[in-house]
Every structure is written in structure tokens, then in C-alpha cells.
């Protein structure tokens, strides 16, 4: 089956610095992909390459088998994009905003857009600047949905919203996903928002892809071990992803399947299955490898 989103050694250089480098993954259709990373990790760059707002410096990105080419109608039609801060024309009324969508998109679903505004209780006559932040985010999401593209890309969709609006917005995205079977990519640095939503995970730090895979597979191939502090990394099964030392014990996240675990277990070690948030944090804290020429810093999660 054609992957919904495929990246093949894709890289983007801004002047002399690489915003994204050597990024390879493949996401099946119908997935809800969580893209996690600190600010400056390359999330927005990867989304812009997917949408067709940027052209890659090397490698390629394909959406449903077709290579994304920057600023071509064919690429733009395949991806709906909700940019960070959900930009809208502040002086427009909601009705104007919907008409904007209709006149800029041949596959525009006006009935869907009207119905959503109705259900959300957003008056069509109101100016965008008079709406609350949550309502503005909903109008922006509606524009993206009514474009009727098979891939929906959301860049930090809830970053500027209050907790209640976040909850409502994410619930809405989930309902749409379940209803339409869209493939969705959500970039966020708020890990807890993604846990309930996504079944696919991409972790980026410093312009590099650290982890890519289905959430179930990743949870099955990672373990959290509690071991005596003096235990060396080399003694542990699989690969050590991150390690936290306390007085007497160390908590280690290892990438190791059940077979490796069965072979490498010691009596005084305690193994536990890893949680979603723990897994993501482990990779985000991983000392960055091969950082040369890449951009961004492994900043602490906000």
C-alpha cells in the first residue's frame, strides 16, 4: 500500500545551517502522527516541506506516492495545512474567511464548513478579530478540513490556547479523524496532548529524526530498567537511550525487544514496560549524536 507520507533522506539547509537533515520514514495511510521535538527541532521545516511551502535541499518527500514540489497546485491540493498561530485575515468576517477558502480551493466543501461553524456556534457575520483564540483556531481548522485534502498537517495547533480550548480542539480533531479516516500529522511540543491521539510517532531533535514508528511497536520494543547504579551501559540489553542516575539506582530507557530482554535480564534488575510520555522524553533527552552542521538545540521541554 502506498504510504500516506514518505520521507527519503530529506534535508533542508537555510544558508549555511541545516534545519533538517537525513530524515527518512514512512507513514501508512489513516495514521495519526505525533511529531514531537523542542522548538527549533525542525518540525515546522518538515511540515513546510510536506505541504509544499519549501523545497528540500536534498532527498524527497512524497504524499500518497507523489513527490511534493514546492508551490505547485498538485502538491498543495494533497495537504491541508494549519500553520502555527493559525493565521487568519483579522479584518475578514467568518463568512469572508470561508469564501476565501472557496475561491482558493477547487475541492472546497462549503457545506462542511458552514455546518461546522453552525455546530460550534460561531456566527458567520462576526469579524475574525472579535473571536476568541479557541474560535479562531476552530475557524482555521475548518478552513483546513473543508479544503478536502487527504493529508492534514497541524503545526502546534493548541500552543496558543487555554486548557479548555485545547481539550475541545483536540477532541474535535479526534472526532474528524475517526469520521473521515484522514491521515493527520500533528506537530507539538506538548507530549501529553498527543498521547491520547496519535498511533504513530516521530521524534525530532536538532534537525535530526531520533525515532519513527507506530506507537504500539515502539512501546513493545522499549523497556525501562531499574538497575544498581554501578551497572555499565555495556552490560544492559539493547541500546541505551537515556539514563537517570539517583543515589543507588539508575533508571534506564533501553531499546530492546522481548527476545533481547529475555536474554539479558539479571535478578536484581527491575524491568517495566515504558509509557508514551516516558518514551518520548527519553528520546528528547538523548545526547544528540552527529550534531555537526545542524541547527537548533536539544532544549528542555516547555
Amino acid at each position: 500500500m502506498t504510504p500516506a507520507l514518505l520521507a527519503d533522506r530529506v534535508g533542508k539547509r537555510y544558508g549555511h545551517v541545516w534545519g533538517l537533515r537525513d530524515c527518512t520514514f514512512s507513514v501508512p495511510a489513516g495514521s495519526v502522527v505525533g511529531m514531537v521535538g523542542p522548538n527549533g527541532a525542525g518540525k515546522t521545516t518538515l511540515l513546510a516541506l510536506t505541504v509544499g511551502l519549501l523545497a528540500p535541499t536534498e532527498g524527497r518527500i512524497a504524499v500518497f506516492g507523489e513527490t511534493s514540489r514546492a508551490h505547485t497546485a498538485a502538491t498543495l491540493a494533497r495537504v491541508s495545512y494549519l500553520a502555527q498561530e493559525h493565521p487568519l485575515y483579522r479584518g475578514f468576517s467568518v463568512a469572508d474567511m470561508l469564501r476565501f477558502g472557496r475561491s482558493m480551493n477547487p475541492r472546497w466543501d462549503h457545506a462542511l464548513a458552514r455546518r461546522r461553524m453552525d455546530e460550534l456556534g460561531i456566527p458567520l457575520g462576526r469579524r475574525i478579530k472579535a473571536l476568541s483564540g479557541g474560535q479562531q483556531a476552530q475557524v482555521a481548522l475548518t478552513l483546513a478540513l473543508a479544503k478536502r485534502a487527504p493529508l492534514l498537517a497541524l503545526d502546534e495547533p493548541v500552543a496558543s490556547l487555554d486548557p479548555i480550548a485545547r481539550l475541545e480542539f483536540m477532541r474535535d480533531v479526534m472526532a474528524v479523524c475517526a469520521e473521515t479516516g484522514l491521515t493527520v500529522v500533528i506537530a507539538s511540543h506538548v507530549v501529553s496532548e498527543l498521547e491520547r491521539l496519535c498511533d504513530w510517532l516521530l521524534v525530532l531533535t536538532g534537525g535530526r529524526l531520533q525515532l519513527a514508528g507506530s506507537v504500539d511497536d515502539l512501546l513493545g520494543t522499549h523497556q525501562v530498567l531499574t538497575v544498581p547504579r554501578q551497572t555499565l551501559d555495556a552490560e544492559l540489553p539493547g541500546h541505551v537511550i537515556s539514563r537517570t542516575d539517583s543515589d543507588r539506582h539508575s533508571t534506564v530507557l533501553v531499546a530492546a525487544g522481548p527476545a533481547e530482554m529475555a536474554g539479558g535480564q539479571r535478578p536484581n534488575w527491575q524491568a517495566e514496560p515504558v509509557g508514551f510520555e516516558q518514551l518520548v522524553l527519553g528520546y528528547l533527552q538523548r545526547p544528540p549524536l552527529r550534531m555537526h552542521g545542524s541547527y537548533g538545540s536539544p532544549a528542555v521541554m516547555s
Binding site: 511551502l53 523545497a55 514546492a70 498543495l76 491540493a77 495545512y81 493565521p87 483579522r90 475561491s103 480551493n105
Partner: protein, 297 residues
């Protein structure tokens, strides 16, 4: 796209329409009054060379009276108006999208960025062109009686006849579009573009005044009944040909040395001034399109 362009620029379109109405009200009112005076003073008879001895005085008095009226509307406001309007329209086109981040919205719809820009530039330029031509036509109609007796060749750009007004408007627009793209800020783009627009405006003004290009014609006329000196009335000009724009009269060895731009050079002067403005506009818009296209890859 057509609707989107209209929706984003409709306030500016209304401002242009209001300016056009103001110009029309003034020009039509004053134009009708001028035409009355034109007939009442017997100028048509004078021009048909069937007038009496009072003709030079009548023409002089008519021209002096209305040249002031023309100066009020055409010299000052119509010199600045195209610059201001062009800049307001141009600076928002890219500058505001980039400043407010709405470019991410505009360029991620199904219309590719290049087509988006070309369509918007085409429609807005068309609108400005229509506005400029309308103002020029109204002002030309208004000037018409005066143009028959006095120089139509007032120093460019202090005139709304010919190409200058429209070309100046488009020049300011083009510079503001480019400034908006480079500065990503509406107000900054307006200020920068206004300063930049002053450069071609100054060049065109200098060509009409101190530099005098194309070089004026000089004739030496014999003095009959004593040379009147440098304060010769320019209406009708000492060259004897109505419409010649006299730049200077000097006395030299019993002769009058008259420097003037012949009336026949009207379109040449307009083409030079308009050409400077239009080539600036085309260059600025071309650079903007190229820069935006280059960022694609």
C-alpha cells in the same frame, strides 16, 4: 482569486474612488466656469485670428486668472497623491501578509504562490491604471480651454495630463510591493517606498527645471519698438506660437534671446517622464516576482 483580491483591497479601492470623485467635482465645477469665461472673454474669436486689438490682453488676463486655479489642484496635490496612494496599495500587498503571518495561509491553499502574486498584481495594477487614466482624462478635459492659449508643457510632474500621473502612481505601487517583500512590515515598507519614489520624482522634476531635458530651443528675435526686457509676458509667448513653454527671455545686443520648449514636444516630454516612472515600476515588480520565485527552490 478575483474575489479575494477585491476583498483585500476594497477599502483602498474606495479611497481611490473618493479621490477620483473629489477631483471630478472640483474639475467639472471649475471647468464649466472656465469654459464660461473662455467664451465670455471672446477667446475663441481671438484664437481664430479674427479678434480685435484687445486679444493679447484678453488672453493674458484669462490665462493668469485660471493658471492659479490649475496650480491649486494639479501642482501640489496631484504631485503627491499618486505617490501616497500607490504606496498604501502596494505596501499591503506583500508587506502585510508577511508581517501578520497570513502568507502561510494564503500560500498553502490550492493556488500556487506565483499564480497568486501574478493574479493579485494584475488585478490591482489594472485597478490603479483605470484610476490613473480616469483622473488624467478629467484633468485633461478641465485644462482644455487653458491648453489652447497657454503652455500645456508645464514642468512634469506638476501636471496631471499625459502619462505622468498614472506612471507615477504605478511607480510608487511597484516600489511599495518590493519594499513590503524585503522588509516584511507594512509601515516600514510605506516609508521606504515613499523615499525611494522621491528619487524618480526628483529626476523627472530636474529634467523639467534646472537640467532642461530635452534641451530647449533658443531663438533670437529682433526688438520692435524697444525691447521690453526680461519681464515679457509668456501669454501669448514671444515666440508667437501658442502653447510654447517659455523658460527664459534675455536681452542681448538689440535682440531678444528666448529659450523655450516647443508645444510639439508635449508627448516627448511625457514619454521621458512617464518612461522613467514606468521603468522603475517594472523593475521593482520584476525584482519582487523574481525574489519570490527564487525562494521556491
Amino acid at each position: 482569486m478575483i474575489w479575494v483580491t477585491w476583498r483585500q483591497h476594497r477599502v483602498q479601492a474606495l479611497i481611490c474612488f473618493a479621490v477620483l470623485c473629489a477631483v471630478a467635482i472640483y474639475a467639472i465645477g471649475a471647468g464649466i466656469w472656465m469654459r464660461h469665461a473662455f467664451s465670455a472673454d471672446g477667446i475663441p474669436l481671438c484664437l481664430a485670428r479674427s479678434g480685435g486689438a484687445g486679444c493679447p490682453a484678453a488672453i493674458t488676463s484669462f490665462a493668469d486668472r485660471f493658471n492659479q486655479g490649475v496650480a491649486v489642484i494639479s501642482d501640489v496635490p496631484l504631485l503627491i497623491v499618486p505617490g501616497l496612494l500607490g504606496i498604501v496599495v502596494g505596501a499591503t500587498l506583500l508587506g502585510q501578509e508577511l508581517e501578520r503571518g497570513t502568507w502561510r495561509l494564503a500560500w498553502s491553499q490550492t493556488v500556487p504562490r506565483n499564480r497568486w502574486l501574478v493574479t493579485k498584481l494584475g488585478l490591482v495594477t489594472g485597478g490603479l491604471l483605470a484610476f490613473g487614466v480616469a483622473v488624467t482624462m478629467i484633468m485633461t478635459w478641465y485644462h482644455q480651454p487653458l491648453d489652447q492659449v497657454t503652455a500645456r508643457l508645464r514642468p512634469v510632474p506638476g501636471t496631471a495630463e499625459g502619462l505622468t500621473f498614472t506612471a507615477s502612481l504605478l511607480c510608487a505601487f511597484g516600489l511599495a510591493v518590493l519594499a513590503g517583500l524585503l522588509l516584511r512590515n507594512t509601515i516600514g515598507a510605506m516609508v521606504t517606498a515613499y523615499v525611494a519614489w522621491e528619487i524618480p520624482t526628483t529626476v523627472v522634476t530636474l529634467l523639467g527645471g534646472p537640467i532642461r531635458f530635452p534641451p530647449p530651443v533658443t531663438v533670437r528675435l529682433p526688438c520692435h519698438a524697444g525691447c521690453p526686457g526680461a519681464s515679457v509676458s509668456s501669454v501669448p509667448p514671444v515666440t508667437g506660437h501658442l502653447g510654447d513653454y517659455v523658460l527664459g527671455v534675455a536681452r542681448s545686443g538689440g535682440q531678444l534671446v528666448v529659450t523655450y520648449q516647443p508645444a510639439s514636444r508635449f508627448w516627448l516630454v511625457q514619454l521621458i517622464g512617464g518612461g522613467i516612472y514606468l521603468s522603475t515600476a517594472v523593475t521593482a515588480l520584476g525584482v519582487a516576482l523574481w525574489l519570490l520565485h527564487r525562494r521556491t527552490t
